[in-house]
């Protein structure tokens, strides 16, 4: 699945949803530390995926 060229687009859409308005409501309900973990956690996951997808030489 990760090899497919559509995957980065799916990742983009999914991350956009998590950072977008509707799912931001989830972050709103979390405690202060939870909010930090929510944003930085998703951010780290996106960076990790990018590393996993593009770092190795194909």
């Amino acid at each position: 699945m990760f090899e497919k060229p559509e995957f980065p687009v799916l990742l983009f859409v999914a991350a956009l949803l998590f950072f977008g308005w509707p799912l931001m409501e989830i972050a709103r309900m979390l405690p202060p530390m939870g909010r930090l973990v929510y944003f930085f956690g998703i951010w780290a996951v996106v960076v990790g995926f990018n590393f996993f997808l593009f770092h190795r030489t194909r």
Binding site: P8, F12, A15, F19, R28, M33, L36, F39, V46, F51
Partner: protein
């Protein structure tokens, strides 16, 4: 606190070290090549995105609005995930077309339009000046803080001015010491990568110090805050709808900013030397932004816990180590902030200077002949542009940024870059996007952006009347710049981004759909949209054709072109460099394929100095081809295409490079064809005259022959038959070899067939006697007029079995008005008679009339003699 001189020397030393690094890289080809091959240098240079706005402003924004600083980095993180498609495509196009700036890239897509390039350059200039101004403000403020000066009354006249002058000097030294054909500056990029490392290390150091040096970790630090403060620091703005709207706006605007801000485009696209490096940038740039953002909230919290004034939150990063009397860390932070600011200023001003000279200055110089000599001073013009950009930014910072946070002014530049989104994405993925749409979209978007963001800024600074904001222009409330068409529920950035993008996209779409696209533009659109289908195949093959083109002649022509823009020495050096690089130096004659490579390289060199649009135009106007060269080029193309396995789209791309040249050749061909046609017409006219003369001579000879016959002592029958035979064999008279002569019997008004030639026996029988007025011959006799018919029509009274279609000449033969005979000739059906034919036949009839009359008189005399 530090002494001003110490800080100033530190500043100079830091810049000198950076300059030394850049020089070392520039002057050591091996090191330069090594670093150019390292993707992390490329990726780190892209993090010039993180400016002093990030370094100082993020903590200030976090302190005021909590997590509202995040979308500036989350947007790019999301967008960068798509770079393997988007950026790779742009880089591929850049390589193919020697793109040197974002204005060059956009204008090259839209038919190399100077108009588009000018608008893009103006947007970039006006959008970037405020952004540079906040960097200057950050430098001056940090300088003031670390030296214990006032932070409210900044020393713009002294410190600010000299800092700006120093930055001008360093920018010229770093990025504008020469006109580079590729606009790649490996030295500057390496220095930029070092700056990025410095700012990251400095920010992490102060973050770690504040979190783990002053406190026992993040948990303890946050716990030290009052609950309300903690909640405020970890929520988005006020938590209301408006804050989330702004969050989404900044998220989208930042997606555009990471690639379409002029400096970002320069580092990510123009400076890219290997598209595989994008792979590293895709994860390294977001990782860098994640790291530099990790301690933003803890630093904001530490500032509050330390009791620092909220008004100074933009500089908590520097104030925290200063308050803790950490001298070394304070200097490191100062240098980190300096690195963040100077990196941005240097790259932005170099990029803007390149765009300004290529797209604003060169078109003006080209237009006015009296300014042509100034073309040689483009490098100096670039220095002046750099100085102009930084000094205008200095004035902007001095006059217009007072009392405004770094982040708000920074968003001006982001919204300006947003205007490039429709034309770039439309250009990359929509083949119908055209120049008219781009001009309309960019023009409208730029206008709305200026009206909704810049006008309020100028009004608040007192440059424009404040009533513009409160009442609208001409008291029209619905035109208020911050509440256009009554939309007053959004913040200024959201409001401006929405309306400018709305008008921009709508005009671009409508213009592209409703207005036609030129053929050449379609080909360019095709090459952009299908750029990723191309690979490095398609290089001109070396073995095309024989070497007949004079190399020295072509080199002189190229040098003459380059001398419009460079000194004689530099132009000669560049031509020699190209020739040597292509291995043509030792050759006297080159092949068509080598000429193609030579000229492609020449255009690339020229494009690096004056932009692709102007370079293409200059090549088109100044280079010429002989007929032999044109023919050899055609053969070379044919061979190249035959050797390549190209798709139709790729083929169009290859062809578009020389489309204009082909057009000129076609025009030459048309002109030549016209001249050939004129010559042919002349030849035909001469032939007609010759034919006419030949006809006259032949007619005269034939008439002489007939007259000679009439004078010979021949029986009338034989004389008439020989005359008839001569007429029927006349080469220019299209008669069939048959006919007859009737003698007129005036007593009973009948014609009697006297002699004939090749007549069908049926005709002989039917036409032995013909009454006057009957059939063609009878009518000629009755009317005593020549009769012509082109077919067997109703007047043709005689019909017989097997009669073939034909026409007739029936010529009455008279003497002194008395009808003596009628000569009838056969013609092909459909023959068109001419005056010449009629004149000739009447002349023959006159001669025969004389003959018949003489014979008849002789007969009468003979009869009378016999009787006597």
């Amino acid at each position: 606190m530090f002494a001003t001189s110490t800080v100033f020397l530190t500043f100079l030393a830091y810049m000198a070290i950076l300059f030394g690094i850049a020089q070392l890289v520039e002057r050591t080809p091996k090191l330069s090549a090594y670093l150019a091959a390292r993707p992390w240098v490329y990726a780190l240079s892209i993090t010039v995105y993180c400016t002093s706005w990030t370094f100082y402003g993020s903590v200030g924004l976090a302190s005021r609005e909590g997590l509202a600083f995040l979308p500036t980095y989350l947007g790019p993180t999301l967008m960068i995930g798509l770079w393997w498609v988007v950026l790779r495509k742009i880089v591929r196009i850049k390589e193919q077309r020697s793109i040197t700036s974002i204005a060059d890239f956009i204008s090259a897509r839209y038919n190399r339009s100077q108009g588009v390039a000018i608008i893009v350059t103006l947007i970039a200039l006006l959008g970037t000046v405020p952004y540079i101004s906040i960097q200057l403000k950050a430098v001056v403020t940090s300088f003031s803080i670390i030296t214990g000066g006032s932070t409210t009354d900044l020393d713009w006249g002294g410190l600010g001015f000299w800092a700006s002058v120093l930055l001008i000097a360093f920018t010229v030294l770093f990025g504008a010491r020469r006109l580079d054909p590729t606009e790649r500056h490996q030295g500057m990029m390496t220095a930029l990568a070092v700056e990025c490392v410095v700012k990251l290390v400095a920010f992490l150091s102060v973050g770690i110090f504040a979190t783990y040096g002053l406190h026992d970790g993040v948990g303890e630090l946050l716990a030290a805050l009052p609950a309300a403060d903690l909640d405020q620091l970890t929520r988005v703005g006020s938590g209301e709808t408006a804050a989330y709207t702004r969050w989404m706006t900044v998220l989208f605007v930042s997606m555009a900013g990471i690639l379409f801000l002029p400096r970002q485009f320069h580092t990510a696209v123009v400076e890219n030397c290997n598209e595989q490096h994008i792979r590293t940038a895709i994860w390294l740039v977001p990782a860098f932004m994640l790291l530099i953002s990790l301690f933003v909230v803890p630093l904001a919290a530490a500032g509050r816990v330390a009791g620092l004034p909220p008004a100074m939150s933009d500089f908590y990063v520097l104030l925290i180590p200063l308050q803790a009397e950490q001298q070394g860390l304070s200097v490191l932070v100062f240098l980190g902030g300096l690195a963040a600011a100077t990196g941005m200023i240097i790259v932005s001003s170099v990029t803007l200077a390149t765009m300004s000279t290529n797209h604003l200055l060169v078109p003006v110089l080209n237009r006015f002949e009296s300014l042509h000599p100034l073309k040689r001073y483009l490098l100096q013009a670039r220095w002046v542009c750099i100085a102009g950009v930084i000094l205008v930014s200095y004035l902007f910072a001095r006059e217009l940024t007072e009392g405004r946070s770094l982040a708000n002014i920074g968003m001006l530049g982001f919204c300006a870059a947003l205007q490039f989104v429709p034309v770039i994405f439309g250009g990359l993925f929509w083949i119908k996007g055209n120049k008219a749409g781009a001009l309309m979209g960019l023009g409208l978007g730029f206008g709305v952006w200026f009206y909704t963001l810049m006008v309020p800024l100028l009004a608040q600074a007192g440059t424009l009347p404040i009533s513009l904001l409160t009442d609208g222009p001409w008291q029209q409330g619905w035109l208020r710049p911050e509440a256009l068409f009554g939309m007053d529920r959004f913040d200024s950035v959201t409001h401006s981004a929405f309306w400018s993008l709305f008008f921009n996209s709508a005009a671009y779409l409508l213009g592209s759909v409703l207005l036609p696209q030129k053929e050449s533009e379609f080909e360019l659109a095709n090459s952009y949209v299908h750029a990723l289908r191309f690979d490095n195949r398609g290089e001109v093959v070396d073995h095309c054709g024989t070497e007949h083109i004079n190399r020295a002649e072509k080199a002189a022509e190229a040098q003459s072109l380059l001398e419009h823009y460079f000194s004689h020495k530099i132009a000669r050096g560049k031509v020699r460099q190209i020739t040597e690089g292509l291995g043509l130096l030792s050759k006297d004659a080159i092949s068509a394929a080598e000429l193609l490579r030579f000229q492609r390289e020449l255009e690339r060199v020229l494009a690096g100095s004056i932009g692709t649009a102007a370079a293409h135009k200059a090549m088109r106007q100044n280079l010429s081809y002989s007929e032999v060269e044109s023919e050899q080029l055609s053969h070379a193309y044919a061979e190249i295409l035959a050797n390549l396995k190209l798709s139709p789209d790729e083929l169009m791309e290859r062809l578009s490079y020389f489309e204009e040249r082909d057009r000129i050749q076609r025009e030459h061909t048309v002109a030549l064809e016209q001249r050939v046609a004129e010559r042919e017409q002349e030849i035909q006219a001469r032939r007609r005259v010759e034919t006419k003369l030949e006809q006259i001579v032949q007619s005269q000879q034939l008439l002489n022959e007939v007259l000679r016959i009439t004078l010979e002592p021949l029986p009338l029958e034989e004389a008439l038959l020989r005359s008839l035979d001569l007429v029927s064999r006349c080469s220019w008279l299209p008669v069939e070899p048959k006919g007859g002569i009737f003698l007129a019997n005036t007593d009973n008004e009948q014609l009697e067939l006297f002699v004939h030639l090749g007549l069908d026996p049926q005709v002989q029988a039917l036409c032995r006697r013909v009454d006057y007025g009957y059939c063609i011959c009878g009518m000629a006799a009755k009317n005593q007029n020549l009769i012509f018919t082109d077919r067997v029509d109703g007047y043709h009274g005689t019909h017989y079995e097997g009669m073939t279609p034909h026409g007739h000449y029936a010529i009455p033969i008279e003497y002194e008005g008395k009808l003596l005979a009628v000569m009838v000739l056969y013609l092909h059906e459909g023959h068109r008679h001419t005056e010449d034919e009629i004149d000739f036949l009447e002349a023959i009839a006159n001669a025969l009339g004389g003959l018949i009359q003489r014979k008849q008189t002789e007969d009468v005399l003979h009869s009378q003699k016999r009787e006597t």
